[in-house]
Amino acid sequence: MNYPNQKRVETFSIEINGRSCRAISGETVVDVARREGIEIPTLCHDTRLEPAGACRVCLVEVEGQRRLQPGCAWKVYPDMKVTTESGRIEKHRTILYSMYMADHQLDESGLPVETGNGNQLRELCKTIDPLPLEPVNAPRAGRPDDVNPYIEFNPDLCILCARCTRYCDEVEAVNAITLSNRGGETTIATAGNRGLLDTTCELCGGCIATCPTGALIEKKAPENLVTLQTEVTRSTCNFCGVGCQLDLHTHNDRVVKITSPEPGETVNDGNLCVKGRFAYDFIHHEDRITTPLVRGTDGELHPASWEQALTAVANGLKSVKDKYGADSLGFISSSRCTGEENYLMQKLSRAVFGTNNVHQCAAT
């Protein structure tokens, strides 16, 4: 589709590892490489955020540059030549990952610990033969007293890539969390180290979703989520009209976690709000109605079989219709239910009971 006034883009070619690649002005080395299927590792990169170039994992060689340069931030220009694999880069990655390991919680196998939300650093560290650096035990403070029900921060798994704080500033724009202190003491903090409930945080959980190492995790997910066999079902959020796509993680017929698809894939671009991501306890709540109920002659509702209940519904509606006519019936459908169900409700109203008195809560 042609829109008037769309920005003009310039395309040209660049060379990555000797291969000619098409590039568009404004793109970065990582943008082009990803499209071309050339792997450049990243940790602090998130397409929704301004590049930070802070994790240094994506450093590449750019012809004419003395120093290695961050591929996530380095803008392409015509005929530039980039190398993403070399002895120098391999040495850099080996030592850098090893340094990260010296500043990270490791498991028995000596790798960064796996979390319920994965750990991209662990995956990177599997690709090297790490140097046995002694741990630095950085004095990075957490917020153990934060009683918010959803979001937990484990400073021992934090690599300070600042994706969470940048997300909170640049995307959610509530600025509830911040980088705080300096050097080895740098950590993720709130004003006054208060619990998130006492900040501007809207509990969207986007910080969890963007965290590459699982330093931020859902409090309500089961603790053994790492080892749990879960299935993932893509669906659509049932709250407001934005239509965010969700991945429902289930185990033993229970929803145990909800995440967003990757940024760029769906209408919500990797984002969710507090309701979409966290407000799913209702699904398995003990208050759910689990059996049909029919009001008895005593005026009380009593459990009934489906057959009894369906017969009662059919007879009840038919007898009113017989007495007062079809237009004495009203069918109130639901904008919370599916399209198919709304279709069937109006069909029930019109085809089965003969009235156009069908509507739903469209305006509330």
Partner: protein, 531 residues
């Protein structure tokens, strides 16, 4: 929405009116924030200084219910300064002159008196909107939940048409839908005047098509909209209701009247996942399934049809709602087809509905980001932006709109204007969100927001308990003294069953849509200890 959600980020100007986007549509608000950070201008028109207003270039803090004045005055400025798009008007519209003549009466100075918005700000807003190419209007129920809601919408449409902001990326006219499937429920024909796809029930050709498809004769008469149904029920004329997935005793305006009606009904069926205020009146309750337990589609605000997929089983004997509806039909003696799955229901629906004829569950498997209607055939890619090639049918008409005040205005007895709405943390009747710790921790119980000058008059401190009374009812709530409010106006969320905002609201409905006047009614606030 005429445009798509992802177009928002490339906006040059967003005019947000009657939409508390950050709370009611948080993810769309994220796109607005993104646009803002990329340098887009933002104009917010809202009686409250909502979150979005704080980062706006211009906040038009109008008095509730005066939108027609504000918008017509903007039209006045655009036309009187010659900022309208003559070519677009010539090519695509009709009735410009009559509309122009009408808005000539709405001068910014008079508008200032009525709306409370400085005339200068109205001019700036009008000029900015008219002279920016990628300028989109975004609105929600703050526009529609009035007795003159349709007029408000007409005024917005006039602005769009006179500036040619249609069929342009990141522009257009964009109602943000309140619920997950408002768009889809309307599309599917859960409306008293249309079969699926907005095909009129009074059109005999259309009716014939549906009679053939469904194998029965169908009523040629328009049905009653929800607002009228509630009134007929209270008047004893509507004798039985079948309510699926809606808590009308919380969500309809003036719920006392709804309760009276339900008490009079001879037969009430509720199909629900939780007991709620409405199920108290049910003769039969059918246990339904929540979104995680069934298959189907939701259609979002930008007309995007997306899949809902079953991930867990319904609890106990609860069933998928589409199956229940089929069972009810069969019990009533109608030969509902033996649909194998929700996809087959959708196929039947699509086969009768040209707008979505090209969509199927199968195609939705392949299109991870859904398909946007119109999508008339299987090779059609869907339509992200409407009206790129001009209006859909013929010429778009300008509307002549006369201002009518809201149905109930404040007086000595009820001196404050109450508006109601949603918060970020809860959803509608909150049967779902009040069962989760986060929303409860953030907002445990009902509250009103009130300007400090009103609070001072009533000797109220932040956090004190008050009683709010209207001609229709009264509720108790906490008072939050809030810099967001206009003096003389209070605001209350609709989420709390034990303190129902809709005991207070006015059920006077819009003439066309029947939508209740949730945004304006007259109330009085009393300090609880004084009573």
């Amino acid at each position: 929405m005429t445009n798509s959600i992802d177009e928002i980020r490339d906006s040059e100007l967003m005019f947000v009116i009657g939409s508390n986007t950050t709370e009611a549509h948080p993810i769309i608000a994220m796109e607005m924030k993104r646009a803002r950070q990329r340098g887009a201008k933002l104009i917010v028109a809202d009686p409250r200084k909502i979150w979005l207003a704080e980062m706006a270039d211009l906040h038009l803090q109008l008095k509730p219910g005066t939108d027609v004045w504000l918008l017509s005055a903007m039209a006045h400025v655009i036309i009187s300064e010659g900022l309208h798009d003559r070519d677009f008007i010539e090519a695509n519209t009709e009735g410009f002159d009559a509309m122009a003549e009408k808005v000539a009466e709405y001068t910014p100075e008079k508008a200032e008196e009525i709306t409370g918005v400085p005339a200068g700000d109205i001019r700036i807003a009008a000029r900015l909107y008219a002279t920016t190419k990628h300028a989109g209007i975004y609105y929600t129920l703050g526009i529609t939940e009035h007795t003159h809601g349709t007029d408000n919408v007409y005024c917005l449409a006039n602005l769009v048409l006179m500036t040619g902001h249609l069929g342009v990326r990141s522009a257009g006219m964009n109602p943000l839908r309140g619920q997950n499937n408002v768009q889809g429920a309307n599309d599917a024909g859960a409306t008293p005047i249309f079969y699926p796809g907005y095909q009129p029930v009074t059109d005999s050709k259309v009716r014939e098509k549906f009679e053939n498809a469904w194998g029965v004769g169908l009523s040629p008469d328009n049905g009653l909209n929800l607002n009228v149904m509630m009134k007929e029920m209270a008047a004893g004329k509507l004798k039985a209701v079948y309510v699926m997935g809606e808590d009308i005793v919380i969500s309809e305006p003036n719920v006392t009247k709804v309760e009276v009606g339900l008490n009079q009904c001879e037969f009430v069926v509720c199909q629900e996942i939780f007991h709620n205020e409405t199920t108290r009146f049910a003769d039969v309750i059918l246990p339904g399934a929540c979104f995680a337990e069934k298959d189907g589609v939701f259609t979002n605000s930008d007309r995007r049809v997306q899949r809902v997929r079953k991930s867990v089983n319904p609890p106990g004997e609860a069933r998928e709602d589409w199956k229940i509806l089929c069972d009810v039909a069969r019990s009533a003696g109608y030969p509902m087809p033996d649909y194998e799955n929700a996809g087959e229901v959708f196929s039947e629906y699509a086969s009768l509905t040209p707008k979505i004829a090209g969509i199927s569950h199968q195609r939705l498997e392949e299109n991870v980001s859904g398909l946007q209607w119109p999508c008339p055939d299987e090779s059609h890619p869907g339509t992200p932006t409407l009206h790129v090639d001009g209006p859909m049918i013929g010429r778009a008409p300008f509307q002549v709109v006369d201002y009518r005040p809201s149905a109930e205005l404040p007086d000595n007895e009820y001196p404050l204007v109450l508006s109601t709405g949603r918060t970020l943390y809860h959803y509608n009747s909150a049967t779902q969100t009040r069962r989760d710790a986060g929303p409860v921790a953030k907002q445990r119980s009902n509250f009103i927001e009130m300007h400090r000058s009103d609070a001072r008059k009533l000797d109220l401190k932040h956090g004190e308990s008050v009683r709010v009374l209207s001609r229709r009812g009264e509720v108790e709530a906490e008072v939050w003294v809030s810099p967001r409010m206009r003096p003389g106006c209070i605001w209350m969320p609709m989420h709390f069953a034990e303190s129902r905002a809709n005991l207070l609201t006015n059920d006077a409905g819009d003439q066309v849509t029947g939508t209740g006047e949730y945004k304006v009614c007259a109330v009085r606030v009393e300090k609880l200890s004084n009573r």
